[in-house]
Homo-oligomer: 195 residues x 2
């Protein structure tokens, strides 16, 4: 994988981001050095600074891109219709999206405290927007009598935590397929919100 002196590359930028994502997810932002990232890509540490102004930007950019991608993906997947239909779609989309990018998800949840204040604030806005997607669905359903939850905000947090938890134990070669898992979770979400 090591690259020779003088070789050129239009794709080093993406490789840097991929290596950083993999290493941050595995060892944590603070525990990973620029030299390690460079080693994965096959360049020297100094070369990384052609692609990122600093280490912090590497973290912020991948988190922001991830959240943007999550919001856009849901926006595309939202079927509209009844709160029940939308809640099912949200559940299935959340599980599928999250299981497809375990590293990005892990970082998005674990590295918030390593963001500088301003970057943290920006990511929090995106996170809040996603939480509001679910909260609005639950609120609509509650108003229409389709759901029966004691507290909409709390139910929203509970559902997201439950769904995101899948990423901590899922293995590709595990006992259940993603589809089976999504079905089981939808069954539990449906019951939990009193639908």
């Amino acid at each position: 994988m090591a690259r020779k002196t003088g070789s050129h590359s239009e794709i080093t930028g993406p490789l840097v981001r991929e290596a950083a994502e993999r290493l941050f997810a595995r060892h944590g932002y603070a525990a990973v050095s620029m030299r390690q990232i460079a080693g994965e890509v096959g360049v020297q540490a100094g070369a990384l600074y052609n692609y990122t102004p600093d280490k912090q930007s590497l973290l912020y950019d991948m988190m922001s891109t991830h959240m943007q991608s999550l919001l856009q993906s849901w926006s595309d997947a939202d079927p509209g219709g009844t709160p029940m239909d939308r809640l099912q779609a949200f559940t299935r989309h959340h599980i599928h999206f999250h299981l497809q990018r375990p590293d990005a998800v892990f970082i998005a949840y674990m590295e918030l405290r390593n963001l500088e204040a301003q970057n943290f604030a920006r990511i929090e806005v995106q996170r809040k927007a996603y939480e509001m997607v679910l909260e609005n669905i639950l609120q609509d359903g509650q108003g229409a009598g389709a759901f029966h939850v004691g507290d909409v905000k709390l139910a929203g947090m509970a559902v997201i935590a439950m769904l995101t938890g899948v990423t901590t134990w899922f293995r590709d070669d595990g006992r259940l397929s993603v589809e089976e898992i999504a079905n089981h979770y939808w069954d539990m979400v449906r019951k939990a919100v009193g639908a």
Copy 2:
């Protein structure tokens, strides 16, 4: 808080562990230096090594103690009786226990990857034991016809993730009391397992 040269202390050991726990929870294990911990306690960095062989032991000891404490606390709180009674007790105990020690909980979930291999394996045994507590309750209830879940293992993971998620948003001065939160969560857990 700074301590004067030559002062003695039988309580420096606990202070070191408390400071380390607070700092690890706030900034992450890898981002915290021994100098920072020493500064919080009011000693020089070298003095810490009277209380811990190294930084890694500081992390492992607090995580192991936390898990031991969790298992013991549940053991004391387990009312026995029907699966329904035990599931309610488990739900309430999990929420109360976790909200009472946010720093230790945060570390237990976030710093697993900073444990050396052998230490990680030991903590995993303790985590697994706790998961089995819930799984056994669900299994008993499923067998007795009190619960109706599609998959006992998966339901266990879902319930734990949902309950633990409280720690990410709970604030002491928030809208709901711990008691109200526990009630709402028990309502959702009860429904989710089809009781």
